[in-house]
């Protein structure tokens, strides 16, 4: 009897809590309004405008640590080394551009100066679901001294590949790089791009940012906006894989690739890379989005009855001759 009761208690919350938050009446809307207003009050000053003094590129950004780390979009910084940072009150400072992963449209910069700076904590985009309420801020159409960053309120509409999140918080040029907050004021996305439909506003999810974090902090610039499978600088193992009922099977191992030197053979079954199970080719390519050539990955695979592990140093796609058999 006791056992049944316990499982009942655990199951009930899971059953009665639906995916999307419920708005039961005006009281719920008032609570929601209070949450949105608190996010605005506490986080507006972390939402900065970024302008490149040399190439004129501009957009928004958000400060996420008291020592002045800024998250923004890769297409905002382009190839700038330094950005002018304009705070909502008009104060101007300078920031050094760190790294960027263009495939995720993710970039980092760091304020020059000791701080402490006003900042917002970072959250996760993984846990977001359709219907979750969010607040967007930024500097649409560039910095405007007559107003503070305009507030946009909306919901998660859907989640896409590479941790991108779509919301109905309307965005326009200049907002790029600005923050998407959850109702606790945590940064869960960075504004990236829009479609003509006003309900399609896309943000680079913070969970994706986190996977590229160390390489961005280290000042690496890589990837291609919109993603390009043919990018010659893309990191590769040098394995041609084919999806089968068993999983991903090695079809071909080009001689000039690192997998060949590591001893991979056609017919090997790849189980996981860096601990992430790989059953879909798409999932596999998402692992490589955060890596650069020269980095090492751990590949778990099976050959016949034996399970094997190898560490492989990734190569540039451009350095491998894929069609050498021809």
């Amino acid at each position: 009897m006791v056992k049944i009761f316990v499982s009942f208690l655990i199951l009930v919350p899971a059953v009665i809590l639906p995916a999307a938050p419920i708005v039961g009446g005006l009281g719920d809307l008032k609570k929601l309004q209070a949450q949105v207003q608190r996010v605005v009050l506490e986080k507006t000053e972390t939402t900065v405008s970024l302008v490149s003094p040399t190439i004129g590129a501009s957009g928004s950004g958000v400060i996420i640590s008291s020592d002045g780390l800024i998250l923004t979009a890769a297409h905002v910084i382009e190839r700038s080394k330094e950005m002018t940072v304009i705070f909502p009150d008009g104060r101007q400072e300078r920031a050094r551009v760190l790294g960027a992963n263009f495939t995720r449209d993710a970039a980092m910069a760091k304020l020059i100066g000791p701080g402490p700076w006003p900042f917002a904590e970072v959250g996760e985009s993984k846990s977001l679901e359709a219907g979750d309420f969010v607040v967007a801020m930024g500097h649409p159409k560039g910095y405007d001294p007559t107003r503070r960053p305009p507030v946009r309120f909306g919901r998660v509409m859907k989640k896409g590949n590479l941790d991108f999140v779509t919301t109905d918080c309307t965005l326009i040029g200049g907002d790029s790089g600005g923050p998407l907050f959850d109702l606790n004021g945590r940064v869960v996305g960075i504004h990236s791009h829009i479609a003509p439909d006003r309900r399609v506003n896309n943000h680079a999810g913070l969970s994706g940012f986190k996977r590229s974090w160390d390489n961005m902090v280290a000042g690496k610039l890589w990837g291609v906006l919109g993603g390009d499978r043919r990018d010659p600088n893309r990191p590769v193992l040098g394995l041609n894989l084919r999806k089968t009922d068993l999983g991903l099977v090695v079809d071909e191992v080009p001689r000039s690739g690192p997998a060949f030197s590591a001893g991979f053979l056609a017919g090997d079954l790849v189980i996981s890379i860096n601990g992430e199970t790989t059953s879909e080719v798409q999932k596999l390519s998402e692992i490589f989005v955060d890596l650069l050539p020269g980095e090492e990955v751990e590949v778990n695979y099976s050959r016949g009855d034996s399970k094997l592990t190898k560490t492989v140093k990734l190569a540039r796609l451009g350095d491998i001759h894929l069609n050498e058999r021809r």
């Binding site: 049944i4 009761f5 499982s7 009942f8 009930v12 059953v15 639906p18 995916a19 999307a20 938050p21 419920i22 708005v23 009446g25 005006l26 719920d28 809307l29 008032k30 929601l32 309004q33 949105v36 207003q37 605005v40 009050l41 507006t44 302008v51 003094p53 002018t84 304009i86 009150d89 008009g90 104060r91 101007q92 400072e93 679901e129 359709a130 219907g131 607040v135 159409k141 910095y143 001294p145 007559t146 107003r147 503070r148 305009p150 507030v151 946009r152 309120f153 909306g154 919901r155 509409m157 859907k158 109905d168 918080c169 309307t170 965005l171 326009i172 040029g173 829009i194 003509p196 006003r198």
Partner: protein
Amino acid sequence: MKFFWFLSFLTTSSLIAQLGLSNAQEVTDAQARQIFVALRATGTSAKDVVYPIYSGGKRISYGISLGGGRLLTKASELRQKRGLYTANREQVALNAGISGVYADHDLAVLEVPGLEAPTVEWADAGDLSEGAFLSAIRPDGEAQAMGVLSVRERSLKSTDQGFLGIEMDTLETGKGVRVKNVVEGSAAAEVGIRQSDIIVKIAGQEVKGFYELSTKLRRLKNGEQPEIELLRNEEILQVRPTLKGREILQGVSQRLEKMDQMSGGQSRVRSGFGNVIQSDMELEVEDAGLPIVDLDGRIIGMVIARAGRISTLILPGDDIIDALKNPPAPFAREEDNMLLDQQGQQGIRRDRMRRELGLMRRMMENLQRELERD
């Protein structure tokens, strides 16, 4: 056993619910319905004062009842429109005539003989802060759209902003801003500011660069006299110019204009207002004139323009009360004297040119056809 049965019932029903709502669109649609049902409680006073305005069988805007058979609406949407009418709650069409306009606010007052409607009661919007929930209420009491207060009341009239009359060097030196050029006859020229002077302080505060100085200047009003400290040949000078109104129009890039255009219609007159609230609520051009309420159901203003993808502009009730204290100007259908700013004028001129081009094209096509017939 009872528990088991109950449990299995719950899990299956939740499974069914989850399967049914597995699609993200269904989840967000269902949630939107909940929000709009909840908003009904806020529209009770607004729904009684709002009326649709039609021309040629098409709704062109809404109007808010001022009592005595008068409706307040957006003026520029009435241009080129003949045969205006509204419909009362019994769905009887009532003719509307334009009794006058308030050009500065782009407002028009319509006379509707026979319309019996209560008088709107405007509430103060001044205490609403960013993030406040706002909705636009239709005659049926439903919200046409819901959004938040994005930007508090401010002037979009560039001539309200202080204008010193210098071109600034955007190069960052860390201290002060170099004057690249001085506009003739400007406030700067009047006090003898020269090219290559370095402005180091304004109103007692140091400026590090272009953005700090231009922010401080544009937050000052036309007629203000800030103290400015200059560095000229390593000598410190103090001047106190009397700022003039800003006449220079901010250019909008074609890329941004395209983003606004692809995202739906925009009101022809959508800038230059003396005091407006900006909201992110998604409306159409023909939703101008809808009353805006907060979550307490107070009517805090009227939709005055759809101004692009992220922006709907709202005229605060207080400003409407102030404007209506004066008698309206006569409505001049064919003249541009009711227009707010150059942007609006250019927009209308462009629209007119486009229409005329269309007419010419049709004439050419007709000529072509007639020639081919011969």
